[in-house]
């Protein structure tokens, strides 16, 4: 067997292990495998950068990679981690946009790229494949939505902590400040349900206690830390 054939047998093996490619008949699988391009990466090596034109669908044969968004100040938000048998960059197959994120190898990894045109033809001819990809993307969207919710909740907690400290210390001790959760939400740019959850988290963390109508700050330093105020 020629070296090319051996390589593409490996590709076919990897592809057949991926849930949605496993639906394809052997002949189609072989055709796809033959057009697949293999890439090997060392630990820490960048597979592709956000914004670069996308090469196609990536299938992981081995290794461990992270999908991240990088902030200008160098901060990194991990969106996803992929390992053997998983697929990434499905987005590129369906749209014409450049890579939506950066992918970096966390350990020596091997991936196979299936070019966009090949994928598009496959999708036209195999509705079940299309359905699988849709389901995958939908699940990913759900996960991202919960991630966004989490991130924004943390920001609200910091704002709420600061707000509680400010409200408690405004004026003399005798002047009590009253607020409903709805008012707090409007002030902090969120909704009452989020304020409710943030308050409950702070209670769990021992920063405040809620006794009837009173929100009592019991750990002022802790709350300051949560508000990220330095002192």
């Amino acid at each position: 067997m020629s070296r090319a054939n051996v390589a593409h047998t490996a590709a076919a093996k990897v592809l057949s292990a991926v849930p949605y490619f496993s639906e394809l008949d052997p002949a189609t699988l072989k055709t796809v495998a033959r057009s697949a391009i293999r890439h090997d990466y060392e630990t820490g090596q960048v597979v592709f950068l956000e914004g670069e034109p996308c090469a196609g669908l990536y299938v992981v044969q081995s290794g461990w990679l992270k999908v991240v968004k990088l902030a200008p100040d160098g901060r990194e938000q991990v969106l996803r981690v992929v390992s053997a048998g998983e697929v990434f960059n499905e987005v590129s197959v369906l749209t014409n946009v450049p890579n939506p994120a950066t992918v970096v190898a966390l350990e020596p990894s091997t991936v196979w790229i299936i070019q966009r045109e090949v994928m598009r033809r496959l999708l036209d001819q195999h509705p079940r494949l299309a359905r699988f990809i849709l389901q995958n993307l939908a699940e990913h969207v759900l996960y991202l939505v919960s991630l966004i919710e989490d991130l924004s909740l943390r920001t609200v907690e910091a704002r709420l902590a600061r707000h509680l400290l400010e409200q408690a210390s405004a004026g003399e001790l005798r002047r009590h400040r009253w607020a409903t959760q709805t008012e707090m939400a409007a002030r902090l740019g969120t909704v009452p349900d989020v304020i409710n959850r943030a308050l409950r988290r702070m209670v769990e963390e021992g920063l405040i206690e809620v006794k009837r109508h009173q929100i009592r700050i019991i750990d002022r330093q802790g709350l300051k830390a949560k508000a990220m105020l330095d002192e």
Binding site: S169, H176, H213
Partner: protein, 83 residues
């Protein structure tokens, strides 16, 4: 709208906005202490001394007519207990 007066401090109860309340009665059913009732098509805190401020009424109200005012205080050595 929310007055920081002594009357409120004595026995705070959830505020029910009659322009939002449609008298559905969910709050009455969910209240663990039976403090609420529907009168003339609107929910009211019929038995304020029974109110535990659990907030189930606020959470369940479909029109967001119920709001509990909160007082934010700091408890440390310098503060005397708030009445």
């Amino acid at each position: 709208m929310i007055q920081g007066n002594r009357r409120l401090a004595e026995q705070p109860v959830p505020l029910i906005d009659p322009t939002r309340c449609d008298g559905c009665g969910l709050c009455v059913r969910v209240c663990p202490t039976g403090a609420l009732a529907v009168k003339d098509g609107k929910a009211i805190v019929a038995t304020p001394e029974a109110c535990n401020y659990t907030g189930l009424c606020e959470a369940i109200c479909p029109t967001r007519a119920i709001r509990r005012p909160f007082e934010i205080v700091v408890l440390d050595e310098k503060t005397t207990k708030v009445e």
